[in-house]
Amino acid sequence: MKLHDIAHARAGDKGNTSTLSLIPYKPQDYALLCREITAERVKAHLAGIVVGKVTRFECPNLPALTFTCEGALLGGVTVSPGLDPHGKSLSFALLEMRVESD
């Protein structure tokens, strides 16, 4: 299945970094996301988008994960020649990832 089946996401921008949250619809799927959706796998999935480093942060209190994707915005919103300079749509690029259910 796709991540889109079990989680929602929101994209934000800080300079040339895209911030992507990943929030399971059901809190019990958080463990699955922690296990399967590593920074390395996100970096591989977004290989055509993210030039720099991907870092994952855990928020078990919500629960949710966040990813900072450096060099993802073609220079950042103010100078990007891309169609979506903020990378607002990148949350749905993340949700294209495949994940195997338990």
């Binding site: 040339n16 966040t66 100078v79 020649p81």
Partner: protein, 452 residues
């Protein structure tokens, strides 16, 4: 213990809808309304306007946004705090005072100035993105520090109805009124962190009430055409519930609040503002039902010794062009068009990118979907040094009309100057802010409270 206070957010970006703020001011039971209208680059563009006209450079929608809002604020005793002063807070303050007079409203305006820091840039200050000395950034047009609650509190303490500034950290627009209401100190770190959580949840207005959220069938949102904007009802311990005016569109649920809590956050354990370093990982959310979500927890560490400043510079010209192909073989004709453009442009303008809208423009990939859409739009774009180079991109695209593949239509082209933004950290002692009060009922034009 002081009673709870309510603060709403009536705009989350410069061009936001007007009417949700009026609904909040008239029906929200608010003490305060914040309007966040200043994006990173907006202040650089506004600075260029001020250079041309000393009374310009504040938010161009100031008059339209406030004309219907001020009477409701006055009637309901709601105080306003906003960054609509942009690159010229004093001119904005004079204009709002004049507008209030025009409307027959007795309202005082307090202006916070001092965020403009271009004279303080020196080679010892590094650009955060590159590490190079800030003085090496070419064609700087503006430099503004993100002010915090400490700079806003003296303005609030004047008792003015309207507080206007320029570059202010977005959450601080909520932190300062909340601090003032409860009498918190500048080093009540945990309380400031909780107020920062509240400010962060409010700062994008509709983004916590169902905007930027709907995904039909997965996350449905009622009434998006009349989205209600949020308010927070804050208690003395820094906890709050987030809600919206009953009957307005949208929704407030755990899911909308979680998405906004993490929006534009890099490290959730260290969210840095001028006021505090806030840790969001202890925040607890509870759905109270009826579009109310309770927010509590969150810890704070002492603020950093620096202000972040954003520096605007002339970054060149963006040239863009688009053309559509539809029907049988649309994708192949679009790919041919892109190939022709590449052959004609790539020697002189190697930075130009070629996207197929409908296939790979937004994500630079289709993740293997390999679909054959009914229509495809070719987009060609590049950041250039000169205007002439940028215009060349659109001209080449337009020439495909008579020289390119069959059935190309819907040309659009543009060449626009780009203002880039980089960041730097400035020692706090370089930044000095002032408060100036303009009053509708005061004969003299202004009364300055220097160096509060």
């Amino acid at each position: 213990m002081k009673r709870s206070m309510r603060i709403g957010c009536g705009a989350g970006f410069q061009g936001d809808r007007f009417e949700p703020a009026v609904v909040l001011a008239s029906q929200g039971g608010l003490d305060w309304l914040m309007l966040e209208c200043l994006a990173e680059r907006t202040i650089a563009l506004a600075t260029l306007q001020r250079v041309r006209d000393p009374e310009a450079g504040y938010d161009p929608l100031l008059d339209r946004r406030l004309r219907t809002l001020l009477p409701q604020l006055k009637k309901n005793g709601v105080r306003l705090i906003t960054n609509m002063g942009a690159a010229n807070p004093l001119a904005a303050g004079r204009r709002v005072a004049a507008l209030a007079r025009e409307l027959g409203l007795d309202m005082q305006v307090a202006v916070v100035s001092g965020d403009e820091v271009s004279r303080h840039l020196h080679p010892g200050i590094a650009v955060m993105e590159t590490g190079a000395p800030v003085t090496e950034v070419p064609d700087i047009v503006s430099a503004n520090a993100y002010l915090g609650a400490e700079s806003l509190l003296p303005a609030i303490q004047t008792g003015a109805d309207i507080i206007i500034g320029g570059r202010i950290a977005d959450p601080s627009l909520a932190v300062a009124p909340i601090m003032h209401h409860f009498g918190w100190r500048l080093d009540d770190w945990d309380l400031l962190a909780r107020a920062t959580v509240i400010g962060h949840l409010l700062e994008c207005a509709g983004q916590v009430t169902g905007g930027y959220f709907a995904d039909p069938g997965k996350k449905d949102v009622p009434g998006l055409a009349h989205l209600g904007f949020p308010f927070a009802a804050v208690d003395a311990d820094g906890s709050a519930f987030i809600s919206k005016v009953p009957g307005s569109g949208g929704l407030v649920t755990l899911a909308t609040v979680k998405e906004q809590l993490l929006y534009e956050v890099t490290d959730p354990a260290a969210y840095i503002t001028p006021d505090v370093v806030a840790d969001f990982t202890g925040v607890r959310l509870t759905d109270l039902g009826g579009d109310r979500v309770h927010v509590t927890g969150g810890r704070g560490l002492p603020r950093t010794p620096t202000y972040k400043a954003s520096i605007g510079y002339r970054a060149g010209w963006l040239g863009e062009g688009e053309i559509s192909y539809a029907g049988a073989n649309a994708r192949a004709r679009a790919e041919l068009a892109a190939a022709v453009l590449r052959e004609r442009l790539e020697d002189e303008l190697p930075q130009v990118r070629y996207d197929l809208i409908g296939i790979n423009a937004a994500h630079r990939s289709d993740f293997g979907a390999n679909i054959e859409p009914y229509e495809v739009r070719v987009r060609v774009a590049g950041l250039c040094v000169t205007r002439a180079e940028a215009e060349r991109i659109g001209w080449e695209l337009e020439s495909l009309g008579t020289n390119g593949p069959a059935g190309g239509g819907g040309f659009r082209r543009s060449a626009t100057e780009r203002i880039g933004v980089v960041s730097a950290l400035l020692p706090r002692n370089l930044v000095h802010t002032d408060v100036t009060v303009f009053g509708a009922h005061i004969d003299a034009d202004s009364q300055t409270l220097a160096d509060i």
